[in-house]
C-alpha cells in the first residue's frame, strides 16, 4: 500500500516577544496505513507541535508553519484552503488530546460531543448519529453506553472521558489518529486498558496511529516504528526492535540509560544525561545535543549532522554515533 502520510521538511516557528522559537525544524518521516509510529522525546522537543502542525492547528500568531509538505492520502495539506482542511479534521484525520478534563465542553452532554463529527462530516441527523454514538461508546467499553450518552463530562471519570475521546476520534473512521500523550494524566492500570483498546481498535479498522509520548516503555509495547526527537528535530528513526536493541544516537542511549526499568534486578546506578534541555530561543551551535553529549567531537559544535542511514530502516543524525549496544540492556 502506498504511504498514507509523507512529511517532508516540516518547519514550524513561533515568534515570541523574546525571540524566534524554532519548535519544529526540518522534520521528515513516512507513515504507512495501519502502522503505529511512536514520536518520542521530552517536553519541548517539538513532538506536540509536530502533531498540531499535521492537523494545521498551530495558532497564527504567534506560530507559523514556515516550510514543508504534508502529503496525506496524496494531497499536500499545507496547500489546502480552510474549508478543505476542515473537511479532513475529525473526518480523515483525528486527534486525541492529553487532558481529558479540559478537552470536553462541560455544558454539553457527552453524546452530543461524540456525535459532533458525525453531524459535521456525515451530515447526519441527531437521531441517526445517536445510535451510532451508542455503538461507539460500547466499542470503547463504556458500560451502559446508551444511558451514558446523556451524561455530562463531569460525571465521567478521567479514564472514561478519555475513552469517550477515543470514541469521538473514531466516529468517522479516520485513516489516521494522532494521540498526544493520551494516558499521561491517568493511572497505570487505566493507561494499560486504554492503550490496549486503542491498539485493538486501530488494528481492527486498519487505522494508522501516531503515538506521542515521553514514555519509552509505551513505545516499546505499542509502536512499530519510532522517531526520537530533540530540540525540534528528529535525531533517530528506526523500527522499534532496532531502536532498543541497537540505539545509535547518544541522546537515545542516554535516555535509555537514565530511566529505571521495572525488570532491573541488580541495583544499577542511573546514568542521567548531564545538563538541561536546550533553550530553543538560543539553541546551541552545530548539533543541539552537543553540550550534553558524551560522544562529542570537535565538529559537533560547528556543523549540524543530517539524518543518515545507519542500517536498513535505521537513520541517525550524528557525527559520532554509538557503535555498540550499551551495557544496561
Amino acid at each position: 500500500m502506498a504511504g498514507l502520510l509523507e512529511v517532508r521538511n516540516l518547519s514550524t516557528h513561533f515568534s515570541t516577544k523574546e525571540g524566534l522559537i524554532r519548535a519544529v525544524e526540518d522534520v521528515s518521516f513516512d507513515l504507512d496505513a495501519g502502522e503505529t509510529l511512536g514520536l518520542v522525546g521530552e517536553s519541548g522537543c517539538g513532538k506536540s507541535v509536530s502533531a498540531m502542525s499535521l492537523m494545521r492547528l498551530i495558532p497564527n500568531p504567534p506560530g507559523k508553519i514556515v516550510n514543508g509538505e504534508i502529503v496525506f492520502e496524496g494531497r499536500d495539506l499545507l496547500k489546502l484552503g480552510d474549508e478543505e482542511i476542515r473537511h479532513i479534521r475529525g473526518n480523515r484525520m483525528a486527534m486525541i488530546f492529553q487532558e481529558p478534563m479540559t478537552s470536553f465542553n462541560p455544558v454539553m452532554t457527552i453524546g452530543r460531543q461524540v456525535a459532533e463529527p458525525l453531524e459535521i462530516h456525515r451530515n447526519m441527523t441527531r437521531n441517526k448519529a445517536w445510535t451510532i454514538c451508542a455503538d461507539l461508546l460500547r466499542r470503547v467499553r463504556i458500560p451502559e453506553a446508551g444511558k451514558r450518552l446523556q451524561s455530562y463530562p463531569h460525571q465521567f471519570s478521567g479514564g472514561m472521558r478519555q475513552r469517550a475521546m477515543i470514541a469521538m476520534a473514531l466516529a468517522c473512521t479516520p485513516r489516521l489518529i494522532i494521540a498526544d500523550e493520551p494516558t499521561t494524566a491517568l493511572d497505570v492500570t487505566i493507561q494499560a486498558q486504554l492503550l490496549e483498546l486503542m491498539k485493538q481498535l486501530t488494528r481492527d479498522a486498519g487505522t494508522a496511529l501516531i503515538l506521542i509520548t515521553h514514555n519509552l516503555g509505551i513505545v516499546a509495547r505499542y509502536a512499530d516504528r519510532v522517531n526520537v526527537m530533540y530540540a525540534g528535530r528528529i535525531v533517530e528513526k528506526a523500527t522499534v526492535r532496532a531502536l532498543y536493541a541497537d540505539p545509535r544516537h547518544p541522546y537515545t542511549v542516554g535516555l535509555m540509560a537514565s530511566i529505571p526499568r521495572l525488570d532491573q534486578d541488580v541495583k544499577r546506578k542511573l546514568r542521567p544525561i548531564p545538563g538541561q534541555p536546550p533553550d530553543l530561543l538560543h539553541p546551541p551551535s552545530g548539533c543541539a545535543f552537543h553540550p550534553r553529549c558524551r560522544n562529542r567531537i570537535p565538529v559537533c559544535e560547528i556543523h549540524r549532522p543530517a539524518l543518515e542511514k545507519a542500517s536498513d530502516g535505521h537513520e541517525v543524525a550524528c557525527w559520532n554515533p554509538v557503535r555498540e549496544a550499551p551495557p544496561c540492556c
Partner: protein
C-alpha cells in the same frame, strides 16, 4: 492554544542556569546567564507601570498634587486664612488669580493648602483601614472555622450600612477635626481589605509551600505574616490605591457637610460648601475645588489600574512557567 503555549513556555523556562553538575568537569553546559534585570523583583513591575499610559497620567497628577501640598507655603500667593473684608467674593483678578471667598480669602491659596488635608486624610485613613482589614482578613482566612464565620458576618454587617450615612454619624459622634475624620473613614474602609485578604489567604493556604512551612515547624503567625501576606499583596496594593481616591471623596463629602475638618482649615470640601452658596456669583468656587477632587480621585484610580495590570500579568507570566 494552550498546548502549544505550554510546550513553548516550558522551553523558555529552561533558559539560563549555570547549575553545578555532578558530572565530569569537561562538560560545560554552554548556558547563558539570564538577564537578571528583567527577571527579578521590582524592575519588571516598574517597567510595566511606566509603560501604562493611564497609570503614568495618574502618577503625574499625584506628583503634581504632592508638590502642591508640600510646597503650598511657598507656592501660595497669600496666607489662606488671611481675610480681606474689602475684597469679598471677587472674580479672578491679578491679585487673586481665582478670586476670593465670602470673607476675602484667596481661593488659589486655599485650594493649594487644601491639597494637604485631602492627601493627608486620604493616605492615612487608607493606611489605617488597610492595617485593620489585612489583620482581620489574615486571621479569618487562616484560622477558618468559627473565627472566620464570626468575622465575616461582622464584616458583612459593616458593609451593609450605607457608607456616607455611617460616616456622617460617626463623624458627628466623634466630633470635629482631622484626626477624627481619619478614624471615621478608616472605620468604613477596612471591610474591603478584610475581604480581599481573606480571599487571597483561602486560596494560598492550600499551596504546598505553606504545608512545607508547617512541616518545618512554623507557627501560625509566622505562616500568616511571612508566607501568606507577602504573596497576597498584589490585589491589596491595587485596592489600596483605589481606596485613597475614595477616602479623598469621603473627606470632601464630610467637609462639605460641615463635619470633619473645620474652618478655618482650608479643605476642598469646605471650599465647595462655600461655593455652593454663592454658585451664581463666583462659579469658580465650585468648579475649581470640584475639579481638584475629581483629578485626585481619578489619579489614584488610574494608578490602581496600572498597578493591577502590572502585577497580574507578571504573576500570570510566572504561573505559566510553572506549567
Amino acid at each position: 492554544m494552550t498546548m502549544d503555549e505550554e510546550t513553548v513556555s516550558s522551553d523558555i523556562r529552561q533558559a539560563g542556569d549555570s547549575e553545578k553538575e555532578p558530572a565530569p568537569p569537561e562538560f560545560e553546559t554552554g548556558r547563558r546567564e539570564p538577564r537578571r534585570s528583567l527577571r527579578t523583583g521590582i524592575r519588571p513591575i516598574l517597567y510595566a507601570i511606566l509603560h501604562h499610559k493611564t497609570a503614568c497620567m495618574g502618577i503625574l497628577i499625584i506628583l503634581l498634587l504632592t508638590v502642591m501640598a508640600l510646597f503650598a507655603p511657598w507656592l501660595a500667593p497669600h496666607d489662606p486664612n488671611e481675610q480681606d473684608l474689602y475684597h469679598v467674593l471677587e472674580s479672578p483678578s491679578r491679585r487673586h488669580l481665582l478670586g476670593t471667598d465670602d470673607v476675602g480669602r484667596d481661593l488659589l491659596s486655599r485650594v493649594l493648602f487644601g491639597a494637604r488635608v485631602s492627601l493627608f486624610v486620604g493616605l492615612s485613613s487608607t493606611v489605617f483601614s488597610a492595617l485593620i482589614g489585612i489583620f482581620i482578613g489574615l486571621v479569618a482566612g487562616y484560622k477558618g472555622g468559627a473565627i472566620d464565620m464570626l468575622t465575616m458576618r461582622i464584616t458583612d454587617t459593616f458593609m451593609c450600612i450605607p457608607g456616607l450615612i455611617f460616616l456622617l454619624v460617626l463623624a458627628a459622634a466623634l466630633g470635629p477635626g482631622v484626626h477624627n475624620i481619619i478614624i471615621a473613614i478608616a472605620a468604613l474602609g477596612w471591610t474591603g481589605f478584610a475581604r480581599i485578604t481573606r480571599g487571597q489567604v483561602l486560596s494560598l493556604r492550600q499551596l504546598p509551600f505553606v504545608e512545607a512551612a508547617h512541616a518545618a515547624g512554623a507557627s501560625g503567625w509566622r505562616i500568616m505574616f511571612r508566607h501568606l501576606l507577602p504573596n497576597a499583596m498584589a490585589p491589596i496594593i491595587v485596592a489600596a490605591s483605589i481606596t485613597v481616591g475614595g477616602a479623598i471623596m469621603l473627606e470632601s463629602a464630610a467637609a462639605f457637610l460641615g463635619l470633619g475638618v473645620q474652618p478655618p482649615t482650608p479643605s476642598w470640601g469646605e471650599a465647595l460648601r462655600v461655593g455652593y452658596s454663592y454658585l451664581e456669583i463666583v462659579p469658580l468656587f465650585s468648579i475649581v475645588p470640584g475639579l481638584m477632587i475629581t483629578l485626585a480621585v481619578l489619579a489614584f484610580n488610574f494608578l490602581g489600574d496600572g498597578l493591577r495590570d502590572a502585577l497580574d500579568p507578571r504573576l500570570r507570566g510566572e504561573a505559566q512557567k510553572i506549567v
